[in-house]
């Protein structure tokens, strides 16, 4: 009798484990902070969102929001959505990186949940905080390649990983040969807008590649201005006196972003705080 009830106790436990395992894909059961369990709707978002951007009809004037550094500022990022959705005529939003703070897939999911409340699609560029722990795997599964480009209207947008410190300044990040080929592959001379996380004048940008990078931008007549995040403060200036204007957006913690408007013979970059 005693033996039988012991046996049934063990069977019950095994059943319970099986039941638990069967609905454990999301939420209530977590196996390791560094696990990467993404739903199909949370994968390859940049390509999916670029496709959505392409479904829009480009006007003569392009307008997009450049924001970033949402890391651990979920309440402030939620407020950003309200401010962004109130801006008229916005085609899309660009996240300048540091989506997460600790490189955890949980954080990436939270930010995606917030960003999906935008009325327009959003795309991202990778930040240094997105590259710690399993962050690189999460980023590539969730958003796609760290270097990519797309065209919309009379513009070519180029997104490049500039977080050299995360690669021990190995001389391969940012990938300058790739950038050069993307800049050259522009037969219609569209406005080339390069966006990245760490600006070239930041200490996290490989000092060996800084001059090569900025020269590459300066020598391309299609590059008028370029956009960065990372520094948690607004900045702008012609840092290298070469005709290219560098802009830095602030963090969500500082409750600000850039509103970029571009047309054929001009552009405007406004600092917005909310």
């Amino acid at each position: 009798m005693q033996k039988n009830s012991n046996k049934s106790f063990v069977i019950h436990i095994i059943l319970l484990f099986l039941v638990a395992a069967s609905f454990s894909c999301e939420g209530i059961f977590q196996f390791n902070p560094n696990q990467i369990t993404l739903k199909e709707s949370e994968k390859n978002l940049n390509a999916k969102n670029v496709e959505q951007i392409h479904q829009r009809t480009p006007g003569d004037t392009l307008r997009f929001i450049f924001m970033g550094d949402t890391q651990r500022w979920y309440d402030e990022s939620s407020d950003f959505i309200k401010s962004a959705n109130a801006q008229p005529g916005v085609d899309f939003v660009v996240h300048a990186g540091d989506i997460s703070d600790f490189g955890l897939s949980t954080e990436f999911k939270w930010i995606n949940k917030i960003m999906q409340k935008l009325e327009v699609p959003y795309v991202t560029v990778v930040g240094n905080h997105d590259l710690v722990a399993n962050g690189p795997i999460v980023y590539e599964q969730m958003y796609g390649p760290m270097d990519y480009a797309f065209e919309f209207g009379n513009n070519k947008f180029i997104f490049i990983n500039t977080n050299s410190r995360e690669y021990q300044f190995n001389g391969l990040v940012p990938n300058l040969p790739w950038l050069q080929s993307e800049l050259r592959d522009n037969p219609d001379n569209k406005n080339a807008i390069i966006m990245a996380h760490a600006p070239p004048f930041d200490s996290d940008f490989d000092p060996k590649l800084q001059a090569k990078f900025t020269d590459m931008l300066a020598q391309d007549p299609n590059v008028r201005f370029t956009l960065y995040g990372h520094q948690h403060t607004f900045k702008d200036g012609e840092y290298y006196n070469d005709g290219v204007h560098y802009y830095v957006t602030t963090s969500m913690g500082e409750r600000g972003y850039l509103l970029v408007t571009s047309w054929n013979d001009g552009y405007k970059v406004e600092r917005i705080t909310y």
Partner: protein, 198 residues
């Protein structure tokens, strides 16, 4: 006379048996674990298991658990080791050798193996560039358990089934700083476990 002899023999044998079981308890080496645990989920592995010790008054358990996450389930194959201490102040006896432990609380320190996880950030980062270690994760939880004392002479003294609801440092910080967007359920997760006591 014969009866007295038999009675005497019985008494001696019972005493001897009692002494024997006492001496086996004494012979059990100090480092032999008091129990083993198997745990499902709880941020220390898909499954984790390992030996543990319990204090004399049966309120404090300390465990060393080896955990793994298969790639199919966690998106990356992860191996970790966890030191864990649980305090359970009360035990309520029920019928048929069953009992309930209504409240437990505890903390753990988890270490996940892998070249992508750092305990000390490499020299190419300025001091304090990132303030946390990616390999070590401290966490805390509350829970409860039900148990059953098994028949004596068996090597297994008791079986317990426990649950724990917990979180870890990085999620807790995120929650504290974002009370509007994050709900407690966003940072809490459940784990289930089995303890086999010797």
């Amino acid at each position: 006379m014969k009866n007295t002899l038999i009675a005497c023999c019985l008494l001696v044998s019972i005493t001897a048996q009692a002494q024997l079981s006492q001496s086996t308890a004494a012979l059990r080496k100090w480092y032999m674990p008091d129990h083993i645990k198997f745990q499902f989920a709880g941020n220390i592995g898909f499954m984790a298991g390992g030996p543990g010790y319990i204090s004399r008054n049966k309120t404090l358990e300390t465990d060393l658990l080896f955990g793994f996450v298969p790639k199919m389930i966690g998106g990356d194959a992860l191996i970790s080791i966890t030191a864990k201490t649980t305090y359970s102040p009360w035990r309520i006896g029920l019928k048929n050798e069953n009992y309930v432990v209504p409240f437990s609380t505890g903390a753990y320190l988890n270490y996940t193996f892998g070249p992508q996880f750092d305990s000390k950030w490499p020299d190419y980062y300025p001091k304090g560039y990132y303030w946390w270690a990616t390999s070590f994760r401290p966490g805390a939880y509350i829970g409860g358990k039900i148990g059953r004392n098994t028949i004596k002479r068996n090597k297994i003294k008791n079986l317990e089934l426990y649950y724990e609801i917990g979180t870890y440092d990085l999620l807790l910080i995120s929650y504290v700083l974002n009370p509007k967007f994050l709900k407690p359920s966003d940072i809490l997760s459940l784990s289930l476990g089995l303890k086999i006591g010797f």
